[in-house]
C-alpha cells in the first residue's frame, strides 16, 4: 500500500479541525479556554501507543466508530481537570455519578464534533457508539490498538489540547483499523502524487529502533548507567506544529545537520537535570562549579555526537550509503526555540514534515533523553524507494571485514 503526502496532509488536517471543533464545544459549554497544541499522525509499534501518558491519571470517554472508517477513539482529561470541568457544568460542583455523567456528556459532545468533520469530508457517515466512561493511569486509558496480521505497527492520530493558563492537558486519540484507513488513504491519493510505500515506512521505523538501541548502548557504555531505548516513532505534522512537540521547558543538547539521502537535522535533547546527571557520569573528576559548567557542556557535546552517530549509522548501513553529519552544536534554551530554526529551515521547501522521534531513559538516576530528526521529505521518499526491505537488519557495519 502507498499513501501520498497530500493525503497524509489532508488526514492530519481533518484530525486537527476535529480537535478544534471539540475544543470549541468545550469552551461553549464550560467557558474553558483551551487551544489545540499539536495534531499529528504517528506510525509506531502498537505496544508503544500512549507511552507519553505514563504516570498520569486520566478520566475520559471512549467510543468506537464504524463506517468509512473503523476503529476506536478516546478523549481523555488529566484527572486534576475533572473538578474544574464539573464545576463549570454543574454550579456548586458534583462528585461521584454526577461528575462522571458530566464528563460523559462533555465527552460525547466534543467527540461528535471530532468525528463529524471526518464524515463530512469523506462525504459519508461514520457511526459512533454511545460514550463509555473510562478511568485509568497512563496508556491503560487507551483502547488496545487494532491488530493486523504481519503488521506490528499502527497509525495513531493524536491531538494535544492545552488548557490556557492551567498546566493541564486533554488528549484525543484516534486508532483506526489499518485496512479501512489504508483503503481510504489510497482512495484519496492523487494519481502520480508523491507516494510513500507504507511497508517501507514501517521498515524505516524498525531501522530507527535499532539506531536508538545503538544510541542507548553507547550512552550505557560511556556512563555505566543502564539505559533503555523506549519509543521510536515516525510522525507527520504541519511544519508549524513541529517546534511545539518539544514544548517550553529548558533543554540541553546538541544539533547537527546531516547530509546524504536523506539530509536534514537531528537533535539530541536532555532536560536540565538529566543533562547534569549524565554529564557527571561521564566526567572523570568532580565538576569545578555549580550548575552546568563548561566541563558538563563538553561532555554533553561528545555524548550528543556519539548518540547521533549511533542513530544515523543504521540508516546508512541498510541503505548502503553514507550519511555525514556536521560537528555537534551545543544548545541550551527553551525547547521550542531550539527546534523552530530547524523547522523553518526544512519548511522552506515543504509544508509538512516527517519527524522521527526516539526516547531513552534509565531507572537508576533521573535521566531521559529524546532524539528528534527532521529529514527532507523528498529525500526520505527517495531513500525509502531505494530501501531494500530484506537488508533491514543490516544496521551494523563490520569493521573487521573492512580493515
Amino acid at each position: 500500500m502507498k499513501v501520498d503526502i497530500q493525503s497524509l496532509g489532508t488526514f492530519n488536517q481533518l484530525a486537527h479541525e476535529g480537535a478544534e471543533q471539540a475544543t470549541q464545544s468545550l469552551a461553549q459549554m464550560t467557558g474553558i479556554d483551551a487551544v489545540v497544541d499539536v495534531t499529528k499522525i504517528t506510525l509506531l509499534n502498537r505496544d508503544d501507543v500512549g507511552e507519553e501518558l505514563a504516570g498520569q491519571d486520566f478520566v475520559g470517554v471512549q467510543f468506537d466508530f464504524e463506517g468509512a472508517l473503523d476503529g476506536d477513539t478516546v478523549l481523555v482529561f488529566e484527572s486534576d481537570s475533572v473538578g474544574p470541568i464539573t464545576e463549570a457544568l454543574v454550579p456548586g460542583g458534583a462528585d461521584g455519578e454526577m461528575a462522571q455523567s458530566s464528563v460523559e456528556e462533555i465527552g460525547n459532545i466534543m467527540m461528535s464534533g471530532f468525528i463529524d468533520g471526518w464524515a463530512d469530508y469523506l462525504g459519508t457517515t461514520i457511526e459512533h457508539s454511545p460514550p463509555e466512561y473510562i478511568e485509568a493511569t497512563g496508556a491503560d486509558v487507551l483502547p488496545p490498538a487494532p491488530t493486523v496480521a504481519d503488521q506490528p505497527q499502527v497509525f495513531v492520530f493524536k491531538s494535544q489540547i492545552e488548557w490556557v493558563g492551567e498546566s493541564l492537558n486533554f488528549y484525543i486519540y484516534m486508532l483506526p483499523e489499518y485496512d479501512t484507513l489504508a483503503e481510504l488513504m489510497t482512495d484519496h491519493a492523487e494519481p502520480g502524487g508523491d507516494a510513500i510505500p507504507i511497508d517501507k515506512l514501517s521498515v524505516f521505523n524498525e531501522m530507527t529502533t535499532s539506531g536508538t538501541e545503538q544510541a542507548a548502548e553507547n550512552v550505557e557504555m560511556m556512563t555505566g548507567i543502564p539505559t533503555e531505548a523506549e519509543v521510536t516513532q515516525i510522525s507527520f505534522a504541519p511544519i508549524e506544529d513541529v517546534p511545539k512537540q518539544v514544548g517550553d521547558d529548558t533543554y540541553v543538547g546538541t544539533v547537527v545537520e546531516f547530509t546524504g539521502v536523506p539530509s536534514g537535522y537531528l537533535l539530541v535533547l536532555f532536560d536540565e537535570v538529566s543533562a547534569q546527571n549524565v554529564a557527571e557520569a561521564l566526567m572523570p573528576t568532580e565538576p569545578d562549579g555549580e550548575g552546568l559548567t563548561e566541563q558538563h557542556k563538553a561532555a554533553i557535546e561528545e555524548l550528543g555526537n556519539i548518540m547521533t552517530s549511533g542513530f544515523v549509522d543504521g540508516w546508512a548501513n541498510v541503505l548502503q550509503t553514507s550519511v555525514d553529519h556536521t560537528p555537534p552544536q551545543l544548545v541550551h534554551d527553551i525547547g521550542q526555540a531550539i527546534v523552530d530554526p530547524l523547522a523553518a529551515q526544512v519548511g522552506q521547501h515543504q509544508e509538512h514534515s516527517f519527524i522521527i522521534e526516539s526516547e531513552m531513559r534509565t531507572d537508576e538516576i533521573e535521566f531521559s533523553s529524546e532524539i528528534h530528526a527532521l529529514p527532507d521529505e523528498k529525500e526520505l521518499r527517495q531513500a525509502l524507494a531505494e530501501l531494500e526491505v530484506d537488508r533491514a537488519d543490516q544496521t551494523d557495519a563490520d569493521v573487521e571485514q573492512i580493515f
Binding site: 545503538q214 560511556m222 561528545e302 556519539i306 547521533t308 546508512a316 548501513n317 557495519a397 573492512i402
Partner: protein
C-alpha cells in the same frame, strides 16, 4: 615510547584519549581539526595519529588522505563515532590503518594500536 598526535574536535574526547595513551605514549600534540592535524603531522611526523572523522574546517578522512599521500608510511587510526560501512570504506581508501568506533574502552584502543604499531 611512540609519538602520538591526537586529532579530535571534542575536548572531552581528547582528554579521554590522553588519559588512555599517556602512560605508554608520548603525546606530541592535540589538535581540533583536519587542517591542524596535517600541519602538526608534517612538523612532528609522529609514529601514530589518532584521527576523528567529523571535525570542523576539514574532516579526518581528507586529512588522512593528505598525510598518507605525503608519507605512505604514516600510521593513522580513525577514532570516530561514525559506524557506517561506506565511511569505513572511504577511510580505507584514504589509507587509514585502523578504525575504532566510539564509545570505546581502553583495551580496544590498545589492541587497535598494537595491530598498527606493534610495540
Amino acid at each position: 615510547m611512540p609519538d602520538v598526535l591526537i586529532a579530535d574536535d571534542s575536548e572531552f574526547m581528547r582528554n579521554l584519549l590522553r588519559e588512555i595513551l599517556e602512560e605508554d605514549h608520548n603525546i606530541v600534540g592535540e589538535v581540533e581539526n583536519g587542517v591542524e592535524a596535517v600541519e602538526v603531522y608534517k612538523e612532528q611526523t609522529p609514529d601514530l595519529v589518532m584521527m576523528d572523522i567529523v571535525m570542523p574546517i576539514r574532516d579526518g578522512i581528507e586529512a588522512t588522505d593528505e598525510i598518507k599521500t605525503s608519507n605512505p608510511d604514516a600510521n593513522v587510526i580513525m577514532c570516530t563515532s561514525v559506524g557506517q560501512e561506506e565511511k569505513m570504506k572511504e577511510a580505507v581508501k584514504a589509507g587509514a590503518d585502523g578504525y575504532i568506533t566510539k564509545p570505546f574502552q581502553k583495551p580496544s584502543v590498545m589492541e587497535a594500536i598494537e595491530d598498527v604499531v606493534p610495540s
